[in-house]
Structure formats: C-alpha cells, structure tokens
C-alpha cells in the first residue's frame, strides 16, 4: 500500500444482545474515529430490547444485521461474512474506542508488513450508571492492562480468515480459542503501548452472567495445548 493509495476500508463488527443502554456510546466511539472510510456492521443477536431500533436510526455507514440469539461468536461471524474491508476490527457493544484507535493501529500494521494484527492496552472503568452497591461488587483493576481482546484488535482481513471464524460452540472464551488458533497458524501480532480501548464494567458483563459457561475456558485451553503438542510431537509443552 503506497502513500498515494486511497485509505483502506475498515470493517467494524459490533455484536449486540440487549445492549440498548450502551450501544449508542459504542457506535459513537467508532464514528468518532479519525480514520475513514468505515463500514460498521451491528449484528443484533436476537435482542428483545431496542438495540436494533437504535442501530437502525444511524444510517450509513452503520448497517444493521439481525439474527436469532446464537451467541457472540455467531454474531461476530455473521458480521465477518458480509464484511468487505481490507482491515477487520471488533467492538463489544458496551466498550469504547479512543478516537485515534484505528489510525494508530493501521499505521503500525502498514509500517510492519510482517505483522498481521495489532492489539493495544485497555483501561477498565465502572459504568457511571452503576449504583454504589453494584460498583462495590465489581473489581476495577487500576491502570491500563495489555489487552489481547477482540475489541482491541485490528487485523488484516485475509490474516483473520487464515485463522478462521470464531468457534460458535463456545459461549465464553471464544477469543481465547481464536487467539490460540492464531498462534498455531503463526499469526504475528503486536500489543501497542497505547491505551486505545475503554472497557466498561457493569453488572451484566458476559463473564458474570454466563458464569456457568466457564468450563468453555478449559475446553478452549485444552484444545490449544493439544494443538501445541501435536505441532511439537511432544507431550512436554510447558512454557
């Protein structure tokens, strides 16, 4: 890609499920990006609240896709399958990007053609609408943390497809599984020191509401270990 080439299209997939409280803030943070052009694919995963209506009100470049409730992995995959951008990004419907997120990450990828995807640091915050009692129950780590998360990633579309879609059988840990497969596929990534993602903590975060699905973490990690062992031909793989 040369300096004179038109700016590449970035497809942003935002899966949502009953996200009316925070969805607009998430979409606004994408629209506030100083990178253009954008394609924003909001995938409504069978919401019963006003999420779809709110997304529809935006118009281009925001596009609404709807499906029955099948989980976040499926919703992201639905967005990926219709995306046409050179770069692919994701944002959870309760999180926020800094306005230079795409610019900074795109620059990093363009300057290092051998790097397939860029992550960043994330800062977590208590959602301001949380009641005091609820706030006290949710630990908010101080300071930014390295974030190899879907919401913090910018990746070349072809590199993403080399790894493959998200595993729809996982209700949680779908990104743990994807990242493990990406490592196995020799995807090269970088975690930028910039804080580009603001992660909202609130009572209905997926991890808390799907606590019963936590065995999915073990399943994803077992699969990762088995792939690693097959690759080395050894059962000894401790890092």
């Amino acid at each position: 890609m040369t300096v004179d080439s038109p700016a590449p299209l970035v497809s942003v997939v935002i899966p949502c499920y009953n996200s009316e409280r925070y969805l607009c803030a998430a979409i606004d943070s994408v629209l506030a990006q100083n990178h253009r052009p954008l394609e924003i694919l909001v995938v409504d995963d069978g919401s019963t609240d006003n999420s779809a209506k709110l997304a529809l009100e935006y118009g281009a470049p925001v596009r609404l896709l709807s499906q029955s409730n099948q989980g976040i992995a499926s919703a992201r995959n639905t967005g990926i399958k219709v995306s046409s951008g050179y770069f692919l990004a994701f944002l959870d419907s309760d999180d926020l990007w800094s306005e230079d997120k795409l610019t900074i990450q795109k620059k990093a990828l363009e300057e290092s053609p051998d790097i397939d995807c860029a992550f960043a640091h994330a800062e977590q915050f208590h959602s301001p609408d949380l009641a005091r009692g609820e706030r006290d129950k949710i630990f908010c780590p101080p300071g930014p943390l390295p974030a190899r998360l879907a919401s913090a990633m910018l990746i070349r579309h072809d590199a993403f497809m080399r790894v493959g879609l998200f595993d729809e059988s996982l209700r949680v840990a779908e990104f743990v599984d994807w990242l493990a497969r990406a490592t196995h596929a020799n995807l090269h990534s970088v975690v930028l020191p910039d804080v580009l993602l603001r992660r909202r903590l609130h009572g209905s975060n997926t991890g808390s509401t799907l606590r019963g699905a936590r065995p999915d973490y073990a399943r994803a990690l077992k699969a990762a270990l088995d792939r690693r062992r097959s690759a080395t031909g050894s059962s000894s793989d401790e890092n």
Binding site: P141, V176, G207, R214, Y217, A218, L221, K222, N239
Partner: protein
C-alpha cells in the same frame, strides 16, 4: 545416606525431618496435618476433565494448569473434600512401598496448589458453595503405578484470562470472592 528421623509423633500430626546426604544438608521440613481439608478456590478457579486431562483455570492470576494421572486423581479428591489424611491413606494403601515419597510428594503437590491459589484450607471460606458449584467432578481413577503428582503451569494467556469481566469481591476487598451467603 539419608537418615529418616521421626522427631515428633503426635496423634494427628507427623513432622518429617529429612537429613540430606552424608554431607549433612537439610531438606525442607514438611508438616502435614492429617485433618487438614482443602477446598477448591471457587468461583475464580474452574476446572474440567477432558480426555483424562484436568485443565484448571485461575482467573485470579490468569494462569492455567494441566494435571494428569495421579495429579488429576488427587484434584478429584480435593473437589470432594477429602482430608489430607484420607488422601494419604488411600495413596499408602495403593502404593505400599512408597511411604516416604508419598509424604513428601503429596506435601509438595498441595503446597504448589495452595501457592497458586487453586485450593484454600477449609474454614477460610466457611460459606463457600458446595460441590455443585464446582461444575463437573473429576472421575479419574488412582493409577496402578506410582509417580509423583505434577502440575504444569501456563501463563501465555494471562492477559486474556485476567480481563475476564467481573470478579465478585467481599467486604474485605479483592481478591476474596463474595459468596452467595454474603449477598
């Protein structure tokens, strides 16, 4: 030559002091109380047995662990609330010629689990949820031949596992998990 000294034999506790080689170096003193019982450090520790391997995930430190064979079997015993003494007796019955090794290896294994915050001594969280909250209990039989129980530790997914969205806290603050009785 190792000289084994049983310095104090109490009703419930055995202190085992190992003298090292003929040069007189000391090894660690191991103290195990037969009545000590551990609990899995739920809800932030989760585990699953898949194809004979137990994968343990610690959302407190972002590490994950693998246990197979005897280590996997012992994890299942800890899930069921077996005391140290009961576990020891089972091992000594199965592996009659491994007496000294069992005491040291079991102590090392439990210390490792405790230092990784995977298990806590019973009584620290009296109102912890019961086995039903642990998910599936491990059903791996005790192996036929003895080898020291080993725990493999992995930290390559720390940043992802540490960012698991919500960790409940109790009044004393992080990282004590708030139990249903506290809510």
């Amino acid at each position: 030559m190792i000289r084994f000294v049983d310095s104090l034999v109490r009703h419930r506790t055995v202190d085992i002091i190992h003298f090292g080689t003929q040069w007189g170096s000391w090894r660690n003193v191991k103290r195990m109380s037969n009545e000590t019982t551990y609990r899995i450090n739920i809800p932030n520790v989760t585990s699953e047995e898949i194809d004979g391997e137990v994968i343990i995930v610690n959302l407190l430190n972002g590490n994950y662990y693998s246990a197979v064979d005897l280590a996997a079997h012992l994890w299942g015993r800890l899930q069921r609330g077996y005391s140290v003494g009961r576990i020891r007796d089972e091992l000594l019955t199965q592996f009659t010629e491994q007496g000294e090794s069992i005491d040291v290896d079991l102590s090392d294994f439990l210390s490792k689990l405790e230092s990784e915050a995977l298990i806590v001594k019973e009584g620290r969280h009296e109102t912890l949820n019961g086995p039903a909250e642990q998910g599936n209990l491990v059903e791996i039989e005790i192996p036929d031949s003895y080898s020291a129980p080993l725990l493999s530790c992995y930290s390559d997914m720390q940043d992802l596992l540490l960012l698991d969205p919500v960790h409940d806290v109790a009044d004393v603050g992080w990282p004590t998990a708030k139990t249903d009785a506290d809510k």
